[in-house]
Symmetry: C2
Subunit: 204 residues, 2 copies
DNA sequence: GTCTATAACTCGATAGAC
DNA sequence: GTCTATCGAGTTATAGAC
């Protein structure tokens, strides 16, 4: 696909191409040649700009993780009522992923295959993102605003229902015959269906 | 790890080793040498028994998909009351995955990277596994046994909450400081927590 | 069946012209 | 900055001895 606009710099086109190829094939499966073709340039130029595959991957992976995680924290740790928080988390998170449906599988897969990339650089200041969320839930239980539930399970339930469909997207589409548009509709529905489902379960 | 029992045949040891290596690294990241080492034999013997990497992978992948999917169908399509079905699905499915925690990520990842492997051979007689489940839910709604909910979303919610934690396992363990045992406990809890959570949401 | 040795090939990376 | 040509490491796969 050499049809990129020529007024983009090579540097930019490489980054876009690399993201596409790495998201689709992962670090191990991606080929520098694929990235060069996708960017409409030459293999040597990749090395000119980014030195080697490792460094190029590193950039893409870091950007992807930053997109995958901290947005979670912002919403989860904000100072709004629990039910609103659940609603806005589901809606905003799904919205973000719809612009990058491959992101969750890419990140989780690479974390799994190369845990060190994570432990070392990314997991510094992020430990226990959720303490505020957990505290808020415990408070609501204590005040008898919601039923007694395990905060940890509630949190994982919410995350699971938002993210998993993106990970299983190709499978869901094949098994149900959905097309891209129908999948998008389905996920749009989930922005409200998931909060409704959760709140129905925990409300008094 | 050449410590495999010598009374296993080479053929068997290769399959066990291949499964381990492919699950961990995927098709693109796996090396025939790794598999040979893991099996305690020689690279040439791999080709003697399985001809090439492609064919060996095919076997492992096929077995993994068969383990991942059809068990779902058995429970989902069985003839038991809805709440019991939800309980037994969550419990049995999580139980199965606990014996093979890498399986979901492996299968979903490879489906994503090579959709043809799926479309062609696997998706023949499995379309619409869930029609019976959907029908059952619609019936319960009609009879006012449960609240009106979208069967499709309910189904995906259940699946998501059961499978996603296995996919995010390394990340969850890192971010919360869990060890293997604590993760196992957590998933044991989910066998009952998820059904409780779902039923609480949909019951009248 | 199992091994050693090596051929054949893929792919990341570099040299060097323009 | 960008390209062509090519090197060399790492991998799959095969030949052939035992």
């Amino acid at each position: 696909m050499v049809n990129k606009k020529k007024n983009d710099t090579a540097h930019e086109r490489i980054l876009i191409a690399a993201k596409k190829v790495f998201f689709l094939k992962g670090m191990a499966g991606a080929r520098m040649q694929d990235i060069a073709d996708e960017a409409g340039i030459n293999k040597a130029l990749l090395h000119y700009y980014f030195r080697n595959k490792e460094k190029l991957f590193e950039l893409i992976f870091k950007e992807a993780s930053n997109q995958f995680f901290p947005k979670i924290a912002d919403i989860i740790d904000s100072d709004i009522p629990l039910f609103e928080k659940i609603e806005s988390f589901c809606s905003e998170y799904i919205d973000m992923m719809q612009q990058n449906a491959y992101l969750p599988l890419f990140v989780l897969n690479e974390v799994n295959k190369q845990p060190h990339r994570f432990r070392e650089r990314f997991w510094k200041n992020r430990e226990f993102l959720f303490s505020k969320f957990v505290g808020q839930i415990e408070m609501e239980i204590k005040n008898r605003k919601i039923k007694p539930v395990s905060p940890a399970h509630l949190f994982i339930n919410m995350i699971s229902m938002c993210i998993f469909p993106f990970i299983a997207k190709p499978m869901m589409m094949m098994s149900s015959g959905m097309d891209e548009l129908q999948f998008r509709d389905f996920m749009d529905q989930r922005k409200t269906e998931i909060p409704k489902f959760i709140i129905e379960s925990i409300k008094r």
